[in-house]
Symmetry: C2
Subunit: 127 residues, 2 copies
Amino acid sequence: MTGHNFSSKREAIFKTIASTKSHPSAKWVYEQLKDEIPNLSLGTVYRNIALFKEQGRVIAVANVDGEERIDADVTDHAHFVCECCNGVYDLVSSEQSPLEKELSQNGFEITRKNVVFYGICQKCSTN
Amino acid sequence: MTGHNFSSKREAIFKTIASTKSHPSAKWVYEQLKDEIPNLSLGTVYRNIALFKEQGRVIAVANVDGEERIDADVTDHAHFVCECCNGVYDLVSSEQSPLEKELSQNGFEITRKNVVFYGICQKCSTN
DNA sequence: ACAGAAAACAGGAATGATTACTGTTTTTAA
DNA sequence: TTAAAAACAGTAATCATTCCTGTTTTCTGT
């Protein structure tokens, strides 16, 4: 359904996303790869990120400064966004919410949750 | 610092935001008001929403279908976004997180948190 | 109440992330 | 090997949001 299951560019894009903890934007992924793959197109990065999201291989974490930031770690965890340096950090675990139980008891089907704290990171507040 | 503290349009925009539970977008607010205020400009709605956010009178809840959705209820509570009808619902309370304590102990200053559940709402799943 | 000065505004142009389109290249499967 | 399917490059289009400029409203001191 999704198409063929191999494309060298697709693999490179996923690898780039999966091998960083920076929670990159599409543009960042493109910048990382364009030396290695000179004829890479930004549209291809966007198209593949959309595909990875459909496949559940990648999640959208937050929109920071107008850009969507993504994560290849799809396990349940929260994030911290620094409003000073625009850094996005993993938080080790997301709280288990009583709201989740309540929602499903009332006919709401949860497909994903997103817990984001905004503030000033340690680095920015000490500099 | 923020300027004068009265403008009839500003008041109308805030009232419109505060008197709905729909978690509106800028465009929705504009659509609601343009009959009542024929020469209202969409830019004015955006400018005032930005101001309300700075003032803490309004929070950004989520980006749904490319549009930022806002809320004049700035008390701590979570939201549910239906990916079918794009509705945004209030959840009565946000969980108190042990992560928050841990973050502040490590030099991270939290200015706001955002807890959003995504899924299919009751109405959409029964229709 | 009146007159600048400051802020807010309308209207439209600009920006910038993301998506869509079209012709070409890569991958697949037989 | 080869034709069909999918992916791609490159570029144009879309659309939410922001910016700019000249005008209007609000404020403040008299």
